[in-house]
Symmetry: C2
Subunit: 104 residues, 2 copies
């Protein structure tokens, strides 16, 4: 949880599960995130070996982010967490916590 607990990390991983993304693409895909936070969370994921950063020295600059093999080993967890979160927000949060039934 220390590695995944960041405010945006799961959302970032979710994006990268689908494939390589550029910095700007990630920013647009994550409404509300600031440039600084996106950079920081990406660097932390990189330091943990989950994300690989590739810099293309062009003009204008291009930087691509992709999951490493280790990062991809979290794919199923990423997906399950995302699914659970959406279920929880749609089903539990609006109602009473002692209300509806779980999914699976």
């Amino acid at each position: 949880m220390e590695m995944l607990g960041g405010r945006w990390k799961l959302a970032i991983l979710k994006q990268l599960v689908a494939g390589t993304r550029r910095f700007g693409e990630l920013r647009r895909a994550l409404p509300g995130i600031t440039q600084r936070m996106l950079t920081r969370q990406l660097r932390e994921l990189e330091a943990d070996g989950l994300v690989a950063r590739t810099v293309y020295r062009e003009v204008p600059p291009r930087v691509e982010y992709a999951l490493t093999e280790v990062g991809h080993s979290l794919d199923s967890i990423t997906e399950e967490l995302d699914k659970w979160g959406r279920w929880y927000r749609e089903t539990i949060r609006p109602e009473d916590p002692s209300g509806p039934r779980p999914p699976a």
Copy 2:
């Protein structure tokens, strides 16, 4: 992640997946946690509807914690996350992040 991101929450959930636990049992099962943190994290999990708190008005007092139905809907995620964490710490952390291979 806002619900599960707490420093001890996953560890607490892991304990409760196995069954009902008393406050003191949880404390002993989580070396390093302070009374205050255990109380706080349990209260947050309770507020999110994942954990149920049962007070037995006896002397000495007895308080039991158990997963709710919603809490149990996280069981597989809890287990996978725990498994992945152990694998990562044993396999990746001691070595280079670009070293060994993932499990599954």
